[in-house]
Symmetry: C2
Subunit: 247 residues, 2 copies
């Protein structure tokens, strides 16, 4: 039997999603929270392996179990075992064994949150990137539209990226402002390592007037990470959700 | 010279707004943060004295200073001194000495946030009240409309209330839901002690079906705090802002 779970977490205290020896990770916390109910060890397959400090509002994972489990009771059990850590199980449902949280994804959604004002974040500490100088979001949005489509994203690819190719297809990117809060929403089937955070870092250099549109496009076209902007901090990034082919 | 300041804070680590000996309060933190710039002690007069754990997105206060201060530099100085606590100065401006943050208020706005789902709050820990049983927000909104107007709010008045009278005029109350998040927005010139949190506690008993509309109105009309619902926790309450007569 295959089970699909939807998860929310605050990434601040964790060393990212993926299990690592001796580290506190989201995957390990979840697998340990399932065990008292499943009685057999479960292995989670996840849609978006988030880095340390990155949050998720709608992470999707699946696991297999030989047992026919009561999904509601499993959810309640896992949430009870997770009560002292900022991880919550939002939904669990039985799915066909054709479903695969990682391989079946046709589009993934991330949101990057920037707080743009002189005063630091007070309510949203560790949940936004605080940028104190004024950003021109309309310009950021306009320039970002050039990134939509199939391109070589090497300029925004971090060292250590395990993707076979730097060619990715960005389906959508939008930059919107509501008061002091700027949201960068992106959609693609998949992303290079740190692609979203590196894109945001360079767009912020546009927004502060440090780069012109021409500068940005030259650097993007040069496919040279060393010339691009900084990596935006993990704390502003949220994994929002995944679209699957059967949906 | 009189200065008006707009403040955001996460109330979690503080013993409320008002200075108390030996306690960490928002007022003391702010007055101490102003001193290195003003060089003379300042005394803040505030629009809404929040309790321990209550947050503010747009708290308003004023203080007087014999000096003609540069507002932007004062704001930067205060924010620098507040960098390690979740308090931020959003705006400072010179105002007429007719302005009074507390006495001049003609309407105050609070928002109470409820997270209504099986899984606890993960991203918004300490920033919402987590209610795990399903709430009927339409019913809560409908019943709440009876509270609008001038009434004896004794049923929602906490012990220790310093108001001369339990008669208050509630200008507006609305209960809205977006996904799992329920917002209770209220507006009045002033409130009794714990009036908003006590109102929310009783409305939640409506929302879970524990009380009928008739029960709620009987208890409200009886003006007896002991028969009304629980006090909703401080962590869900936000002071949003104040309207002044000159605006």
């Amino acid at each position: 039997m295959r089970y699909r779970i939807k998860i929310e977490y605050d990434g601040t205290p964790f060393h990212g999603w993926q299990r690592q020896d001796g580290m506190d990770t989201v995957q390990q916390r979840l697998e340990e929270a399932a065990f008292p109910f499943t009685k057999v060890p479960v292995v989670l397959h996840v849609s978006g392996r988030t880095d340390a400090g990155v949050h998720a509002l709608g992470q999707i994972a699946h696991f297999d179990s030989p047992e026919d489990l009561n999904c509601f009771r499993l959810q309640e059990c896992m949430n009870a075992h997770l009560k002292d850590v900022p991880i919550g199980i939002l939904e669990i449902e039985k799915v066909s064994d054709k479903f695969h949280a990682r391989l079946g994804a046709i589009e993934r959604y991330y949101c990057y949150k920037i707080l743009n004002r002189r005063a630091k974040a007070c309510i949203d500490t560790s949940r936004v990137w605080w940028v104190s100088y004024q950003l021109d979001t309309e310009k950021m949005h306009t320039v970002a539209q050039h990134l939509i489509g199939k391109h070589d994203f090497s300029a925004f690819r971090a060292a250590g990226c395990q993707s076979n190719s730097p060619i990715k297809t960005l389906n959508n990117i939008s930059i919107t402002r509501t008061g002091d809060l700027i949201l960068v929403n992106v959609a693609a089937k998949s992303f290079l390592y740190h692609q979203v955070r590196n894109t945001v870092g360079s767009l912020v250099w546009i927004g502060r007037g440090y780069w012109s549109e021409r500068d940005f496009l030259d650097i993007f076209d040069a496919c040279d990470r060393t010339r691009a902007g900084p990596t935006a901090p993990a704390c502003g990034l949220y994994f929002i959700g995944t679209k699957y082919s059967d949906e």
